[in-house]
Each structure stands twice: as structure tokens, then as C-alpha cells.
């Protein structure tokens, strides 16, 4: 087979890119070896310089890879699979930037990019820790680089190649067009697929880089921790690692919150936090990093809980890797609203995860000999895992996890410098330690709940064993284990809140009073005297909150949590004013804790007090079963004005704008209705007469006793005059919201919310259902008809026309010719009346039987825009089956919308910003301290 000379391809870019990745990979390994040798023993300067050079080569290679990919993006080189999949010609410059991280390959590159940036900053500082820390970083980079190699060993895929040409993609091999030398001139390759439209917004430009910087920032404290263990400087690593840890807390926290803001502002998840696996798996490392960071700070003042600090810092990095594994391996399957697939590198990701978990644990062992023995044991396990059967792999994984736990317990028992004296109960370090334990427990609970699909996978090979146990013991629980199909609970929020609310209460209380405790020992009396003010202030604020918001008694844990957040805020504000006294350097922690308190306060109030105001106004939407009285959505006909919450709303118009269909909804103020003495109204089938002139309250119940008198036996005048009770009438137009539906061929159309922001609350609305494309009609313009079973006396509403079945009669022989009927025909007239406002017309569609066959006789009533067909008549129960078609000209457009009020949500965002500012100040302070100690 002769070689095809493909036209117009930038094959040089693929070659160059692959060369750079391979070179960068090799350089990372060389950097690792150089720094490793440089760090051994007392250190070796020339090896260290070699390592540094190699790492810089690695850094330059990968920066060039990124530049190259951007060159391909900006030149729209669609012969590259990655570009074709994530870019199209419509995307503007900011989105072209973001399409770099649209796929997994770019995700890895972005992650590596931030590692490189942080590492280069670190190298510049010429720290004494450079060699050991950089050895760890270089090894992590080598692992990540190998994920991008994209080479195959037989069927085994090693990495995913970002420079893969589309004709080389495994799924395209053998397709006819790949043999076409000029395939790039095919219309298909003139434009790419583009990012999923759901991702095409500015959040996609800012969120992933921030989050990945957060991920990357956990590497630095991790590398310091391992280096400290390696060099037996169990305490000394903490001081230089502290600023990095706090930087990580700040940036990872920002990234996570940005994700929440994205979900709230642009996606219709109905809130900012959904306990989704993706969110959880980045939250847990953050929790651990917060705990670890605080313990590092404690150790600056007093050597204590070294093991916990190591455990949390190492754990946060491992969990970042675990999170990558969860989200990129496809194992989460359908437990997440995000969609994931197995990219073919699951084994590689798993080995990467287990490798660093192993490294982390082994290094915690004190005795060098044991480190080697355990490492060798695990290497053997790894070999069995890779080359063994899948059952062997599972067994090996379980043995590994068990031995990992054992190693951690031994490491704890034998652990490195323990405090000589126990912490005092009235000391800051003791309560910070407790706080970090609480964070760990919270993290573990979230991890377990998120990892249910992983546990199912691990249980799979032991199905038979558990089935046997079930049969011998009769315990149902063993059967569940054998079935290994555990699923997250239905009420996701409740499943998490039952644990997280009490834990958050404890933790936030701690963040309130621990500020006031001194290191080593505090005078309890003085301490209690100091916090009592904040306690009282928080109590007073709680009363205020309970006055404005309805909490039921069953919500006690939540009320306690609200109190805790208020206490954290008042206590830290007090501390800021009376103790810090405007010194910026020392104010970081108090400010950050105020922000955190406000954040949780806003979150609890806005979610627990959210009010779905879009309850249905028309018809009964709970026809099926009263158990499921959802009543969350409003059905809005175009042109109608309905009351919704404190507004009147009107669906005005629908129009197309780019890839969106916008639904224009006007909001009017609600003016309370003025009733006069003697007015007659009906409310839930009862008649009432106004006792006096009055303005209506929001609900009828409030007015019923004082303002209305029931009319037990309404007369004709009452029936004629009575109107349905309404609370108000529409007043001035206030604003317009435009919730929209994004047209998305790949994923199905997706609703996007529109939110009206007020200082004290948000009005959040999104479309649940709307007509996107013109409805299908027959050639005469009638919409698909609907059949109804009706009896004499029944009425139904078709569009705006009220159809009533008045009577039935047979067509007498004398009239048959007038209806163009044959004499032998049997015909039934269905006398109906059509009513719309003041217009009434009587019609009589026919049901005709000729030679015992039904003759369909559809009748069109043009001036009503309706078409009738009597399908059948059952003489036994006198049921008429009637199909009615509406003409598209009379059909009114309608939407189903949900509207939610989130009260005080701005406090949440304010808290976020304050927390970020506070943490930034703390990082600045820590950097200063770290520099000062270096000079000293």
C-alpha cells in the first residue's frame, strides 16, 4: 500500500508537539534524578544544579507545548482531533482561550502549567529545601507528563496524545475519508465541533484556571511534608510550607466557590451547591488543607500534633489526585449530573493515585528499613495488579488499602516528635487540633458518600462470598453487599446535612472562640469574660433572624448553625476591633473567619428559607396522587397576567438570540385590591360578602374572620356578582426577566436561568418547559388533535373556547339530505355550544354509521379555528369520544416556569469576598514571617 501524501496538514506541529512532550517527560525524570541525588545525604550541589537545569528544560518544553496548542487553536487547525473537538469558527477570542482546557488533555496541561509556575517561583527563591522539594515536584510532573504520551503497548494505552491527528484517532481508523489525501477540504473539517454550548460562557474562561491553580497549590505543602519526612526534619518543613498552604486555601476556596457561582448564575441546578461528586471531590481536599494549614501555624508556636499536620497536608494532595481519578475515570457513571467517560487511562490514573498514596504513607514510617520493606511489598502488589486478572487487581487493591491503613496506624503509634506535655484545655493549639479533627470527619463523610460507586466496584469480586454469608446468617445487609449496587440517597441534601450541619456547628463555634485563646495557656476567667459579649450579641442577632424568618422547631440543628455563624462573626469582629487594632498584618485570620461565618450564614438562610413562589395557578396539577404535591411550577399563557408571590407576571414575548431562545417576562408590582362593603366574592366554593371597605391582605385566611361574612345560601344576585377573591391587581411594571433555553443539539436543549438581584434577596427564574420550534401541524394548519371522552353536560376548555355538550339527537330521515346523508345511514347529532367571551355558537358534529361502518366526518369551524370529529358513541353509558383540533392561529404560546426567592444570598457572596481578602492578608503575613525567619 503506497503512502498517501495528505494535503494541507501541519504534520510538523504534531511531530514537534510529540517531541516536546516526550522531551519534557524525559526532562522531568532527569530533574527528579538530579534533585534526588542532590538531596541525598548532606546534599550535592552539582547534582542539584543538574536537576534544576533539567527541570527548567521540562518547564520550557511544556510551556512550548501550550504555546503550540494555542497556535493550533488560533489557526483553526482542524486536522488535530483535540482542536476539532473543542473549537469551532463561531467561538470568540476569550472562548478560544478556554477551549484549551475543554478536554482532559488540556486539563492535564493546565494542571502541569500551574505546577511549573509554582515550582519556578519556588526555585527562584533558592530555598535550602529546593533539592528534596523539587525532587517530589519533578516526580509528580513526570507522572502527569506520561498521561500525555499517547503511546500504545499492544492494546494498552499509555496516556492520551493532545496532538493526535483526527485521521489517526482509533475510532476513525479504516473510515473511507481517511484514505482521501484531500480530506481537509471536506466540508466536515472546515469547522470544528466546538465546546459544548453549556460551557460557552465567561465562567468557562475563569473558573477552570482558578480551580486548577487551587489543585496545583496543594502540591507545594505536600512536597514540603514528604521532604521533611525524608530529611528527618519533622518540624522545620512547616515554616516555609505555611504560606503555600494558605495560598492553597485561598485559591482552591475561590475556585470551588466560583464553581458554585457558575452553577447558580448560568446553569439551572436550582442553587449554588448540589453536593455533586465533582463539587464534593474538590471540597474535601480543601477541608483537609484548611485543617492542615491551621496545624502548621500552631506548630510555629509550639510543637504539637505533628502527625495530624502531616496526615492532613499529605491527604489534601492525595485527595486532589483522587478527585481527578473520580472525575476522569468514568467510575462515577450516572451519580453525577456532570457527564464523564472513561478516557482509556483509568489504570494509569489509578496507579498514579496509589503510587502517591503509598509514598505519602510509607514516608510517615519512622524506620528507614521498614520504609523499604513496605515499599517493596507494595511494588510486588502493583506488579500483580498490573499483570494479574481483574479479580487479582481488586484483591490487590484491597490488600493495598488494608496495609495502607496498617502503615498509618503504626506510623501514628511510633510517630515522630510528640509533645512532652499534653496540651492544656485552655490553649489555642488544643482547640485548633479539635477543629482540624472535625474538618477531617466532615471530609471523610463527604468522601464516603461520594465514593459509593467506588465501593460498589470494590465489592464486585466478593459478591459470592457475601451471598454465602447472607445465606448462612440471614442478614439482609450481606445481601446488599453481595448485590453491590448501593446508590446515593434520594434526598441528597438531607443525606449530607444530617452529618454536616452538626459538624459545621462545632467547627464554626470553634472559629469564633479559638481566636481569643492564647497559645499554651489562657486564663479561663479572662477568656470567658472576653467571649461573653460576642455570645450575647450573637444571641440578639439570632432573635432578629428568627423574627424575620420562619424556622420550625424541627429545624433546631439549623438554628444552632445560624447561631454559630453569628457568633463566629461577632466574636471575630470584636477580636478585630479590640485586639488587632487595625494592624493589617495580624488582621488576616479574623477577617477570613468573619468571611467564613457570613458565607455559611448566607448559605443556610438562602437555602433553608428559599421560597418557591411559582406555584401553579391554573387547574389542578396534582391529579395523579396527593402524596406528591409538587406545586413548584407556574403555567403561563402568553398575554395572561398572573399573580406570583408579591408580583404579577406576564409572559410577553419569545424571540431568538444566537443559540438562545429568550422568554421575555414582565414583572408588575402587586397593588392590594380594594374591596367595598357589600362586595361578593367566592373562595374555595363558598360565597362571602365584605363587611367593610378594606384593602386585601396577601392571603384570604388573614382577612376572612375580620373582613368577610359567609353567605350560607347564595341567591341569584350573589351568583351573578360574585368574583373569585384575589389579593391584588397588577400595578406599575417593575422589571423584565429573560430566562432562556439554550439550543444544544449535542446535549439536548438546556434551560438557563435569569435572576433579579436585590440587596436582600434574589429572584431566580428558569424555564421548565417552553415551545422551542414551531409546533407540527397538518396541511390545513391544525395542531395534533386530542381525543376526549365526554357526556352530555360536560364542558372543556380548548384554547380560550369553552366547549359544552348540550344534548344528543338522532338525525330524522327528513333532514338527511340536508346533511348529505344516505337514507340507510344512522346519524347522531352531538349538539355542542362554543363560547368565548360574548360570542356563542351552536354546532352539531355528526356521528355517522353506514352499513355498520363508521364514516368519519370531521367538521371544521373556521371562525373558531376548531375542527371536530366524533370518533365513537357508546350507547350503554352515553359516552361520546370526540377529537378536537385547534388551529395554530388560535393557539396561545405558553411556558412552564419555576421561580425561587433566595433570601440574603448576597451575604454568601459578601462572605466569599471577605474570606478571600482575609486569607490573602494571612498569606502575605506568613510570607513575611517566613522571610524574617530565614534572615534570622
Amino acid at each position: 500500500m503506497e503512502d498517501i501524501v495528505y494535503q494541507g496538514e501541519w504534520t510538523w506541529a504534531a511531530t514537534l508537539g510529540r517531541f516536546l512532550i516526550a522531551g519534557g517527560f524525559a526532562a522531568a525524570i532527569a530533574g527528579f534524578i538530579g534533585y534526588l541525588m542532590g538531596a541525598l545525604g548532606k546534599g550535592n550541589e552539582s547534582w542539584k544544579r543538574f536537576g534544576r537545569t533539567a527541570f527548567i528544560i521540562h518547564a520550557v518544553s511544556f510551556l512550548l507545548v501550550i504555546v503550540l496548542i494555542y497556535t493550533l487553536i488560533f489557526n483553526h487547525r482542524y486536522e488535530f482531533q483535540y482542536i476539532w473537538k473543542h473549537l469551532n469558527n463561531q467561538m470568540g477570542t476569550p472562548l478560544q482561550f478556554s477551549c484549551f482546557w475543554g478536554g482532559q488533555e488540556g486539563g492535564f496541561l493546565l494542571w502541569m502549567f500551574w505546577h511549573i509556575v509554582l515550582a519556578l517561583i519556588f526555585i527562584r527563591r533558592r530555598s535550602t529545601w529546593e533539592a528534596p522539594v523539587m525532587a517530589i515536584i519533578a516526580s509528580v510532573q513526570a507522572w502527569l507528563a506520561c498521561m500525555l504520551l499517547g503511546v500504545y503497548f499492544g492494546d494498552y494505552q499509555f496516556g492520551i496524545d493532545p496532538f493526535l491527528l483526527i485521521r489517526e484517532a482509533p475510532e476513525n481508523i479504516g473510515l473511507p475519508w481517511t484514505r482521501n489525501a484531500e480530506y481537509l477540504s471536506l466540508p466536515l473539517f472546515a469547522d470544528g465541533q466546538g465546546l459544548n454550548p453549556l460551557l460557552q460562557n465567561y465562567w468557562m474562561v475563569i473558573h477552570p484556571p482558578t480551580l486548577f491553580l487551587g489543585f496545583a497549590s496543594t502540591l507545594m505543602p505536600f512536597a514540603f511534608a514528604i521532604a521533611g519526612l525524608w530529611k528527618k526534619q519533622y518540624i522545620e518543613w512547616m515554616r516555609p510550607a505555611t504560606p503555600w498552604a494558605f495560598f492553597g486555601i485561598m485559591i482552591l476556596g475561590t475556585g470551588i466557590l466560583m464553581g458554585g457561582a457558575w452553577a447558580y448564575e448560568a446553569l439551572s441546578f436550582g442553587g449554588f451547591w448540589a453536593w455533586d461528586p465533582v463539587e464534593n471531590s474538590s471540597l474535601v481536599p480543601w477541608l483537609l488543607l484548611v485543617g492542615g494549614g491551621h496545624l502548621l501555624m500552631v506548630n510555629r508556636n509550639k510543637v504539637t500534633s505533628v502527625f495530624s499536620a502531616l496526615f492532613l497536608i499529605i491527604g489534601s494532595f492525595i485527595l486532589i489526585v483522587y478527585s481527578t481519578f473520580l472525575t476522569k475515570s468514568g467510575i462515577l457513571g450516572d451519580t453525577s449530573v456532570h457527564s464523564f467517560v472513561d478516557s482509556g487511562i483509568l489504570p494509569q490514573l489509578l496507579v498514579y493515585l496509589l503510587f502517591f498514596s503509598g509514598v505519602g504513607a510509607v514516608m510517615m514510617l519512622k524506620h528507614i528499613r521498614w520504609r523499604w520493606i513496605i515499599a517493596a511489598f507494595w511494588a510486588v502488589l502493583l506488579a500483580i495488579g498490573i499483570w494479574g486478572s481483574s479479580k487479582a487487581t481488586m484483591n490487590v487493591t484491597i490488600v493495598f488499602l488494608a496495609s495502607l491503613a496498617a502503615v498509618l496506624i503504626i506510623a501514628y503509634a511510633k510517630h515522630i516528635p510528640r509533645p512532652k506535655v499534653e496540651e492544656d484545655l485552655w490553649s489555642r493549639e488544643f482547640w485548633i487540633f479539635i477543629g482540624s479533627v472535625i474538618l477531617l470527619v466532615a471530609g471523610i463523610q463527604i468522601s464516603f458518600a461520594t465514593s459509593i460507586p467506588v465501593f460498589n466496584k470494590l465489592l464486585e469480586p466478593y459478591s459470592e462470598t457475601f451471598m454465602g454469608l447472607h445465606e448462612s446468617t440471614g442478614w439482609a445487609w450481606f445481601k446488599s453487599l453481595a448485590d453491590h449496587n448501593f446508590a446515593p440517597s434520594t434526598d441528597i441534601d438531607a443525606a449530607y446535612h444530617v452529618y454536616q450541619v452538626p459538624l459545621a456547628f462545632l467547627f464554626i463555634m470553634l472559629s469564633g472562640f479559638t481566636q481569643w485563646l492564647k497559645y499554651k495557656k489562657t486564663d479561663p476567667k479572662k477568656f470567658l469574660g472576653q467571649i461573653v459579649r460576642s455570645f450575647v450579641a450573637a444571641g440578639a442577632l439570632l432573635m432578629l433572624v428568627l423574627h424575620f424568618f420562619d424556622f420550625s422547631a424541627g429545624e433546631f440543628p439549623r438554628i444552632a448553625l445560624v447561631f454559630a455563624t453569628l457568633f463566629a462573626v461577632t466574636s471575630n469582629v470584636d477580636y478585630l476591633i479590640s485586639m488587632v487594632k487595625g494592624k493589617w498584618d495580624k488582621s488576616g485570620s479574623a477577617i477570613a473567619h468573619i468571611g467564613f461565618g457570613l458565607l455559611i450564614f448566607g448559605a443556610v438562610i438562602s437555602t433553608s428559607q428559599k421560597d418557591i413562589i411559582s406555584q401553579n395557578q391554573m387547574g389542578d396539577i396534582t391529579t395523579l396522587n396527593n402524596d406528591f404535591d409538587n406545586r413548584e411550577d407556574i403555567l403561563l399563557l402568553q398575554g395572561d397576567t398572573l399573580q406570583m408571590g408579591d408580583y404579577f407576571i406576564s409572559y410577553k414575548n419569545r424571540y431568538d438570540k444566537g443559540i438562545h431562545v429568550m422568554f421575555e417576562i414582565d414583572y408588575f408590582e402587586m397593588v392590594p385590591k380594594q374591596f367595598k362593603e357589600g362586595d361578593v366574592i367566592f373562595f374555595s366554593n363558598m360565597f362571602f360578602e365584605a363587611k367593610e371597605d378594606h384593602l386585601a391582605s396577601r392571603t384570604f385566611i388573614r382577612d376572612m374572620e375580620s373582613k368577610w361574612r359567609t353567605i350560607p345560601l347564595p341567591n341569584e344576585r350573589h351568583a351573578r356578582e360574585a368574583q373569585r377573591w384575589v389579593a391584588g391587581i397588577p400595578g406599575e411594571k417593575l422589571f423584565t426577566l429573560e430566562p432562556r433555553v439554550q439550543l444544544n443539539e449535542q446535549m439536548g436543549n438546556a434551560p438557563e436561568p435569569d435572576t433579579k438581584h436585590f440587596i436582600h434577596q434574589d429572584l431566580y427564574t428558569h424555564i421548565k418547559w417552553g415551545q422551542i420550534s414551531p409546533p407540527e401541524t397538518d396541511e390545513e394548519g391544525f395542531l395534533g388533535g386530542r381525543a376526549h371522552d365526554l357526556h352530555v353536560g360536560d364542558s372543556l376548555l380548548v384554547s380560550n373556547v369553552l366547549v359544552t355538550i348540550d344534548s344528543l339527537s338522532a338525525v330524522p330521515d327528513s333532514m338527511k339530505p340536508a346533511y348529505s346523508l344516505l337514507e340507510k345511514d344512522i346519524a347522531l347529532r352531538v349538539h355542542c355550544s362554543l363560547r368565548e367571551r360574548n360570542r356563542v355558537e351552536a354546532i352539531d358534529p355528526l356521528y355517522i354509521i353506514r352499513d355498520s361502518l363508521i364514516v368519519p366526518d370531521a367538521q371544521t369551524y373556521d371562525n373558531w379555528g376548531l375542527k371536530f370529529l366524533v370518533n365513537s358513541f357508546n350507547p350503554v353509558d352515553q359516552t361520546i369520544n370526540l377529537t378536537i383540533w385547534e388551529h395554530e392561529s388560535i393557539r396561545r404560546d405558553f411556558i412552564v416556569m419555576q421561580a425561587v426567592i433566595f433570601p440574603q444570598i448576597n451575604i454568601l457572596w459578601l462572605g466569599c469576598i471577605i474570606m478571600i481578602i482575609g486569607t490573602t492578608l494571612a498569606v502575605r503575613h506568613r510570607i513575611k514571617l517566613s522571610k524574617r525567619s530565614k534572615k534570622a
Binding site: 473511507p176 465541533q193 459544548n196 487540633f433 446515593p488 395523579l624 396522587n625 406528591f628
Partner: protein, 134 residues
């Protein structure tokens, strides 16, 4: 006993507790058969949309009811009443997780999760027909 040890014992107890609670509190995914055998009990049923039947959603009659048919893991098809507005992308879904129970001989779902076609593996079909477009 030292205070830290007491705290660690509590910690371990809580962790073991949550571990067990995670599993006992978790739903289990079943086939329709089991759900129909125990009416009124809540279950999770996973499966795929049965495309032989239409998905009906008639908001003017009931904006909170979507009716469709689904195959469970064992391949049995059942009619499902989902008490929600029709989720976008239902027709495109690759798999469905339903949470609900049997009431009066019908499966009534209150919650539903879908797995939709991935954003990473899309439009393979287009590439296969590229020759035709030429």
C-alpha cells in the same frame, strides 16, 4: 488517658459510624420487579429509555407529569410517571436513574438522574458519513 487519645477514639467511632450509615442509609438499585412486589416502598431503578413508546408531557393538563417507558437492568419495560416537568435531554439520554415507588400499580418517580451523551465522544456518526458529504 490523654485528651488527644480520647478525641481520636471518638473520631474513629464517628468514622466507623458514618461508614456503616453510608451503606445502610443508601438506597439500593433494583429492577422493576422488586419495586412492584413492595408497593409504597421507595427504590432506585436504573435503566434506559424505551424508545418504542413516546415520551408524553402535556403541560397544559399537568405541568408536573412526564410519562415514558423505561427498560430496567433486566430488560423489562415499565411505564413510569415522573412527577416533574419533562427534563431536557430525556430523549437523548443514555441511561436513567429513577427514584420512586409503586402506587396503585404504577411506578411513580419523584426524582430522576440521567446520563447524557458525553461531551467528549460525540458525533462519531458525522465522521462516518463524511464520504457522502464529499
Amino acid at each position: 488517658m490523654k485528651k488527644t487519645q480520647i478525641v481520636l477514639i471518638i473520631l474513629i467511632a464517628v468514622v466507623v459510624g458514618t461508614f456503616i450509615a453510608t451503606f445502610t442509609g443508601a438506597n439500593t438499585s433494583v429492577a422493576f420487579e422488586e419495586a412492584f412486589a413492595n408497593p409504597g416502598k421507595e427504590y432506585k431503578v436504573s435503566g434506559t429509555l424505551n424508545r418504542d413508546y413516546p415520551v408524553t408531557y402535556d403541560p397544559q393538563t399537568n405541568s408536573e407529569l412526564t410519562v415514558f417507558h423505561m427498560f430496567d437492568k433486566e430488560g423489562n419495560s415499565q411505564m413510569v410517571n415522573l412527577k416533574k416537568a419533562k427534563p431536557t435531554g430525556l430523549e437523548q439520554s443514555e441511561s436513567i436513574d429513577l427514584y420512586g415507588r409503586v402506587i396503585d400499580g404504577e411506578f411513580v418517580a419523584t426524582e430522576m438522574l440521567m446520563k447524557c451523551p458525553s461531551k467528549y465522544n460525540k458525533n462519531k456518526h458525522n465522521l462516518e458519513t463524511a464520504e457522502v458529504e464529499n
